[in-house]
């Protein structure tokens, strides 16, 4: 059974890896309906000019050609950006951090030095932090709109699986009990 315990630990070990993702500052993200709506507004007013969001049906205003000549790179589509920059919610945190990390140094951005994208929010905008939070949350939603359904269904499925495992464990124990106590006899079919 010692090895058995080891196996359980092995199977859940990956969860520990998740905790190890501590590079980014711990910024609090609000994923409520209201935040998502605000975030969508921020996307439309501040991002859609260059960035498309094609899987949600949004085209960008600027063409890839124009972006390349203006900034050196085409602005990538944002539909999956929250997933492309980190696992789980890390990607959204990255986006938020990026948007507030612009500064006056030659590197332009402390998180992503020499980034091609210009600062999106003006320095004097008091709401820039809030906007960054909201658009990050919105992009997190955009990357997987059905995440809530997934988690909801997951609760039922996992509950069921725990029950089933317990039952089957019980059946196994009962089955083997007759073998384990039978020390003297032969094994008759």
């Amino acid at each position: 059974m010692k090895i058995f315990n080891l196996l359980i630990i092995l199977m859940l070990f990956p969860l520990a890896l998740r905790a190890a993702d501590a590079e980014l500052p711990k910024l609090d993200l609000d994923f409520s309906e209201a935040a998502l709506k605000r975030g969508e507004g921020v996307y439309k007013s501040s991002c859609q000019a260059c960035h498309s969001l094609k899987y949600l049906g949004y085209q960008s205003v600027m063409t890839a050609e124009a972006a390349r000549s203006a900034f050196g790179k085409a602005a990538p589509d944002l539909s999956l950006m929250a997933k492309a920059r980190g696992r789980g919610r890390q990607g959204a945190r990255y986006i938020q951090a990026l948007l507030v990390s612009y500064n006056e140094t030659p590197e332009k951005n402390s998180l992503f030095p020499n980034i091609a994208m210009p600062p999106v929010f003006s320095k004097d905008d008091p709401e820039s932090a809030q906007k960054a939070r909201d658009v990050a949350a919105f992009l997190f939603y955009a990357a997987e709109p059905l995440a809530k359904e997934r988690r909801g269904l997951g609760r039922y499925v996992l509950g069921y699986m725990v029950l089933l495992t317990a039952l089957l464990y019980g059946v196994n124990r009962k089955t083997w009990r007759s073998i384990k106590t039978n020390r003297s006899g032969k094994n008759t079919p």
Binding site: Y160, L163, L164, L167, L168, G170, V171, K174, T175, R177, S178, N182, S184, G185, N187, T188
Partner: protein, 212 residues
């Protein structure tokens, strides 16, 4: 598996037998429950796979469309494609309305009141698929071939419908099927709904779109 009992220890043996029996019963109950839970779960697990074969969300989303009927003249019929199927939109004239009212319900194979077929008497919205074998009937604003009133005529096997799409003659068993729609204003229709309830969406009586 019951252990071998020595002949002289009957009482002890019986007690062990009872315990075994009880244990077996417990295992049986447990086994039965596990089997039920397991098979039930496996049955439920097939559901996502079966649903995955159905129309995808984007197809359902595309099944809501708006049609501008401002240019539709009296007696004119227009065909739009909805969910990859033809939909007839007909501007019915006064005479068509009167003629349809004069048809006795008892003479119809698939009786239906005019109020069950249209939301507004001057506009028919129905599926343009013959209920016989699926051809697309043609609209005849003056006279359907073989009849003395306007309506639809299916060239495949001679099915005939009135200006409400009700079956008058020929092999079709039912009236032309209806679909949910709503008047956004006098000139605009919204047809179809995102909630796909399958073919049991009411095809026999006109229904309005939910005001979502």
């Amino acid at each position: 598996m019951p252990p071998r009992r020595c002949a002289g220890r009957r009482n002890q043996g019986l007690a062990m037998e009872e315990e075994k029996f009880a244990a077996l019963n417990r295992r049986d109950f447990l086994t039965m429950t596990s089997a039920a839970v397991g098979l039930g779960g496996m049955g439920l697990a097939t559901v996502p796979f079966l649903k995955a074969l159905g129309p995808t969300r984007d197809i359902i989303r595309a099944g809501v469309m708006e049609v501008d009927i401002s240019g539709l003249k009296e007696g004119e019929s227009r065909v739009v494609m909805w969910r990859k199927q033809p939909v007839f939109i007909v501007r019915r004239s006064r005479e068509m309305v009167e003629q349809a009212k004069r048809i006795a319900l008892s003479s119809l194979r698939d009786p239906a009141q005019p109020e069950e077929r249209v939301q507004r008497p001057d506009l028919l919205v129905c599926l343009g698929i013959c209920t016989h074998l699926g051809c697309i009937p043609s609209w005849h604003p003056e006279k359907v071939p073989g009849l003395d009133q306007p309506g639809f005529y299916c060239p495949c096997h001679g099915g005939k419908y009135d200006s409400l799409g009700r079956r008058l003659d020929g092999p079709p068993p039912e009236n032309l099927h209806l679909l949910p729609y709503r008047f956004l204003n006098a000139n605009k229709l919204r047809i179809g709904t995102e909630k796909f309830t399958g073919y049991s969406e009411n095809i026999r009586k006109v229904q309005e779109l939910p005001r979502a």
